[in-house]
Symmetry: C2
Subunit: 398 residues, 2 copies
């Protein structure tokens, strides 16, 4: 039995309230540094500041989120101003002449850490792209496109960002790279991506290298030809990442009107959920080992907010395309877990980290890797999709 229109409407209202009354207000109230620019990231349960460090991933993501709200929900000046606060800070302090972006900055913008990775640069670019449209600043879109071109050169050879190349390293590709690049192209070219046709196909091809249909598994790290690497790194499953990659792919499958890719994307989400869900305590694991060994990361069995956030939207998107009750049930299962464990009834926003049993382990709402991004993005995407499901004659939002 498919969900009734009444049930869908109830979820739509729930997500609307959570997003606009309990999540966005938290960040607007506590994170904006109107004095020095940018956002405070490290916010305790009640929004109070426990560290003034500004993390560049989170600066970029929050600027993107507020620009997206302004452009696609309502032209509220305070949302545009919030986005501008981040973009200006990033442009002043995060990006360097060589196009590298720092990982973290002091509250007044002095660099603390530079990672030998490309993700700070990706989220910087994502912010520029969305803000360029929200603020009608084509120069920022041009800057985003230039940065993407550089990232494209660096993406599969991190010696460009300072990683030593050593003789014993197994050639490897991380799922994170093609999926974030594919998402970046979606953000840079939301309407006409014909100019990026080659890059889009390359990202899709590379993502699919991680998918083993026979085993119904998505490997986080594979050899460049897609073969498996015989090591804990090669056996590592990151179901949250795989699920996120699934809905990134689905958006392109819809844009390119490619049914085979759509079927792949649906399967990636379903397989990763089936494998990643903890039947004993609920929630999706952070990491697993494909052959059942203990994953070496200490936090493998924890339940992280972003993993569950990505699953919310991915299952709902599957349901919107398949009408399959199993996809709806999966959405409801993750929804129940999130609102029981992560949503904070007292101060708004969500907790980020639970142990395997579902106890909150970290009371803060913002930390070095948790900002204003996965929770509001998932709520926004689900809210939009629930709206479309309420009035089924509208276009898909994907």
């Amino acid at each position: 039995m498919t969900p009734s229109p009444v049930a869908i409407a109830a979820y739509r209202r729930k997500y609307e309230r959570e997003l606009f009354e309990r999540v966005i207000p938290f960040w607007l109230q506590y994170s904006l540094d109107r004095e020095r620019g940018g956002y405070f990231n490290c916010l305790d349960r009640d929004g109070s500041l426990y560290d003034t460090t500004k993390h560049v991933w989170l600066q970029g993501r929050q600027a993107w989120l507020f620009a997206k709200l302004y452009r696609t929900v309502e032209s509220k000046p305070e949302w545009l101003a919030a986005a501008r606060l981040g973009v200006d800070f990033l442009q002043h302090f995060a990006i360097r002449p060589d196009r590298r972006a720092y990982f973290s900055l002091t509250e007044d913008g002095k660099p603390i850490q530079l990672q030998r990775k490309i993700f700070s640069e990706c989220f910087y670019t994502m912010a520029l792209a969305e803000f360029s449209r929200a603020s009608d600043r084509p120069d920022l879109l041009a800057a985003a496109r230039d940065e993407l071109a550089t990232l494209w050169d660096w993406a599969y050879d991190w010696s460009y960002v300072g990683r030593p190349v050593l003789a014993g390293q197994h050639p490897a590709q991380s799922l994170a790279v093609p999926m974030i690049l594919l998402n970046l192209i979606e953000e840079i070219a939301p309407d006409d991506a014909s100019e990026y046709a080659v890059e889009v196909e390359d990202c899709i091809r590379r993502i699919l290298l991680h998918v083993n249909s026979d085993e119904q598994l998505v490997y986080e790290t594979v050899a460049p030809d897609g073969s498996q690497i015989a090591s804990p790194q090669g056996r590592l499953l990151n179901p949250g990442h795989a699920i996120e990659a699934g809905w990134f792919l689905q958006h392109w499958a819809q844009r390119l009107q490619r049914e085979d890719l759509s079927a792949d994307a649906i399967a990636i989400v379903r397989w990763s959920f089936a494998r990643g869900w903890d039947d004993e305590y609920g929630g999706i694991f952070y990491f697993l080992d494909a052959e059942g060994y203990s994953p070496t990361p200490l936090e493998w069995s924890m339940k992280l907010w972003w993993v569950q956030c990505e699953a919310l939207y991915a299952h709902l998107l599957n349901f919107s395309l398949t009408g399959d009750r199993d996809d709806w049930d999966a959405f409801e299962r993750v929804d129940a877990y999130c609102f029981e464990h992560f949503s904070d009834p007292k101060f708004g926003e969500w907790f980020g980290y639970c142990d395997r049993q579902g106890n909150v382990t970290h009371r803060f709402k913002g930390g070095p890797y948790k900002g204003c991004f996965h929770v509001p993005r998932a709520l926004l995407l689900c809210w939009r999709l629930l709206q479309a499901l309420e009035t089924p004659n509208t276009q898909s939002v994907a």
Copy 2:
């Protein structure tokens, strides 16, 4: 009431059996790579291999352990051969002409990873020093001394090992550095350290910078002048590290016959245990925040084997010096936790990781950071000390 001689003898026998019948045999049986040299580190619960990567910290530490057993317990040829396997492998493959040592190698010695830290070099040096005595190879002691001289130059300026120096970084000193250097000098110069008198005093001075007697806290990271850094990094407590530093200091207090330092060392262990012990579930936490915020590392509330191992010996050492029942009780409390949660009755060796509640989270016995070191070192040190406590007219082993 102090423990009876019968109780002490029972513990002595327990530690003797655990070390020689259940821990050392595990590593001798499963870890030696007689074909290519060095040790396999990544051993599953039953000793089977789940990854062939050889981790240099653990190569150095295991070589040190077997050389120590050979030299101080019994001249068993198999122990010397086991130590040689590691030292030869390290000398062939881990150390570079510029005195840097890799962090990890393939099974046949090709480099995989080079950290921008100095700890691989420290454990390499530790292995050379002990093996030089076990094998009567003064050239290796000379090499260890040369490496230590280089490490001394690098220790407080990691730009020498590739860390970028950035304008927003707060000048900071990690407790790990002076404590490992002090331990290295103990290993390099166990009898006459007069040549290292300046370095020993410098290490002691720097370690004590981390101790705040008013608060009865040991900070993991402080400014170079010992002042507190106002950030999560500056508030971080690592009680296992502090406890280990406590017994390192106590060994020097005994050597230098310095009562004030001995009192400091006793207090460091007691304070860190009082603060670090989890009254709800038992075991010592991995990390805490001095002001009660949630520590940002995801694994902060886990119970790690090495933390408890260091506490076993530190409390027993305190008791041997103070005769105080509280120190003995602390030893017994940690002993009960270890043998209930970590010691594996089926296959020998100890598990490494429990969640806060005390459930084993990782079934392996050896991993990227867990090798043949903390468990046998703690058992060996406790066994020796329990022997001395059984026959109180002998010299202290400290």
